[in-house]
């Protein structure tokens, strides 16, 4: 059973890679990425804007959502969880385009409105994963730590956060990967980014513009995804990584 599953997974993977290579061969053959070579300065500027929007909003969301997640999981403040998660939920429920439009309403056109909109949009996945990660830490473990004389701060830093880290990083990863896609919409409120080429391509029915914008966005998302996989590997304590592996095998 396990073996057939592995074989199927491998076949799917091979088909996926074959399609991907076929696509790139086709795209290059038809000069689909011509804009990148023709206007390298514009490309780099748009890419820079795109990355800036994603990273600024992502960093701000991590800085707010992780401490908030820690705050609501403290027994004393547990009662505030529904309110804070509710508010974060609201940001997520509103369609991304509407969040952008609302942000533009307050901050006018430009990059700051896009950053604020994506920041609001990233809060929920990070907050929820922080809460889930901290909640999943075994109560017996915390009890043992407390009984041995660790202070609450020491329990948080030495026990809770290391054990919740996998989940927290997964939340940041999800938020950022979604944001890279959503940042393409930032063009609509005048914040630039690779969305500029994508929308130009759509309007002009020009595949070269479309591909020169869309493919780098996709690659960026994949790159961030791998980067965070590596980050997870580097930051999560070795013991936890091994334990997870042992559990899965």
């Amino acid at each position: 059973m396990d073996r057939t599953n592995k074989t199927i997974a491998l076949i799917i993977k091979l088909i996926f890679w074959a399609l991907l290579i076929a696509f790139f061969v086709w795209a290059f053959a038809n000069n689909m990425f011509s804009k990148i070579w023709e206007q390298p300065d514009t490309f780099l500027r748009l890419l820079g804007e795109h990355i800036t929007i994603v990273l600024l909003s992502g960093a701000a969301a991590v800085l707010l959502a992780v401490p908030l997640g820690i705050f609501v999981t403290r027994p004393k403040f547990r009662k505030s969880e529904w309110l804070i998660v509710g508010i974060a939920n609201l940001g997520q429920t509103i369609p991304s385009l509407a969040v952008l439009a609302l942000a533009m309403g307050f901050l006018g056109i430009g990059i700051s409105a896009a950053v604020v909109a994506l920041f609001v949009y990233s809060l929920l996945p990070i907050l929820q994963n922080t809460i889930a990660g901290l909640d999943s830490v075994d109560d017996n473990m915390k009890d043992a730590a407390k009984g041995m004389g660790l202070t609450n701060t020491q329990i948080l830093w030495k026990i809770e956060l290391p054990n919740a880290l996998t989940s927290i990083i997964a939340g940041v990863r999800t938020a950022l990967v979604i944001n890279i896609g959503t940042a393409a919409l930032a063009y609509l409120i005048g914040a630039g980014g690779l969305g500029v080429w994508i929308f130009t391509g759509i309007r002009l029915f020009d595949n070269a513009f479309l591909m020169s914008g869309a493919v780098p966005v996709t690659l960026l998302a994949i790159l961030i995804d791998y980067l965070f996989k590596w980050l997870q590997f580097a930051l999560v304590p070795k013991g936890l990584r091994l334990a997870r592996k042992a559990q899965n095998s």
Binding site: N140, G147, M148, G149, K158, P237
Partner: protein
């Protein structure tokens, strides 16, 4: 010394979990709190290191009120072992075991020496386990590390909450015996929670039997088995309490108290070592054709023989004495 002084615990203003508890665990004593689930034994244990608050009364730990001590500092001076060992999966075995010394700011060399010494004490090779992680160890090994961790800063007092409860019977027996050896050497003041009467009889200097937050009897195991204070105690220790009490004595105890019968040569009677417990001796007599067992000392010299009559005589004498 742990002294419980009129300790009372009330939940939600009216549910009494512990009522006017008064008893003392003397220095170097291992006291086991025993009772059905919900009797308050774990609550009482957790009140000592203030994981549970005390509603009324006080607990004196080496003469100091736990209610008025600095909780953090006090807990670092109490070894704490729980059933599901509570080792931290993000730390290797050495970091786990040395967590309290680390908090106390010991230097690296001192911690390493202490780790090596403790691991030898609990029967694990320090170098083999130092860099390993909790999930790589068996339940028994994890619990050994749990004990080593509790002993790390050499606390005078230890609290143990069913430390061997989650282990299979064979490993449990092993660890109980090893722990008794460790305790013989270290002479810690230990408060221990169990629900297993056999574990209590085997390990405890005194047993505190609780029911519904009240003390039913606080006595040495022999006394509790031979002279239960009330019908609840009698029922809890079991109909076979006399047989259980036999595991408290060895054949040597009997030989010292009474004169052994002369050896009658018979191919059916087995030889036994004088260090054997009387409970096992009885079982051996019942399990053979002859009426007697031949007692030998460690050198193999025959000292005489024992029979069921002799054991019965010894039993009556002991019960009379313990009353």
């Amino acid at each position: 010394m742990i002294h419980f002084n009129d300790v009372t615990k009330v939940y939600n203003g009216n549910v009494k979990a512990i009522e006017n508890m008064n008893f003392t665990v003397e220095d170097g004593e291992l006291v086991i709190m025993l009772g059905p689930s919900g009797c308050g034994k774990t609550t009482l244990l957790r009140m000592v290191n203030q994981l549970e608050s005390i509603t009324d009364g006080d607990i004196m730990l080496n003469g100091k009120s736990v209610r008025h001590s600095n909780k953090i500092e006090m807990r670092r001076n109490i070894g704490y072992v729980i059933q599901s060992n509570g080792l931290f999966p993000n730390m290797n075995i050495e970091d786990n075991a040395m967590i309290v010394p680390n908090l106390l700011g010991w230097d690296r060399k001192k911690m390493r020496d202490r780790f090596n010494m403790l691991m030898e004490l609990v029967g694990l090779n320090p170098d083999e386990y130092r860099k390993r992680y909790p999930h790589e160890l068996s339940g028994g090994q994890q619990q050994r590390v749990g004990v080593a961790r509790a002993l790390a800063a050499d606390p005078p007092v230890m609290l143990m909450d069913e430390p061997f409860g989650a282990l299979d019977p064979i490993i449990r027996t092993h660890l109980q015996e090893e722990f008794l050896q460790i305790q013989k050497e270290l002479k810690k003041t230990i408060l221990f929670v169990s629900h297993d009467i056999d574990e209590a009889v085997k390990m405890a200097d005194k047993i505190a039997l609780l029911k519904g937050g009240k003390m039913m009897q606080y006595a040495e195991p022999a006394r509790m088995l031979n002279k239960p204070a009330n019908s609840f105690v009698a029922e809890f220790v079991g109909q076979d309490r006399v047989l259980k009490s036999m595991s408290l004595y060895t054949v040597r105890d009997l030989a010292n108290a009474l004169t052994l019968k002369p050896v009658i040569e018979s191919p059916d009677s087995q030889n036994i070592n004088e260090n054997l417990s009387l409970r096992v001796a009885i079982s051996k007599i019942l399990n053979q054709e002859a009426d007697q067992l031949i007692v030998e000392n460690d050198n193999g010299t025959r000292k005489g023989s024992i029979t069921l009559d002799l054991i019965e005589q010894f039993l009556h004498r002991e019960i009379k004495e313990s009353v």
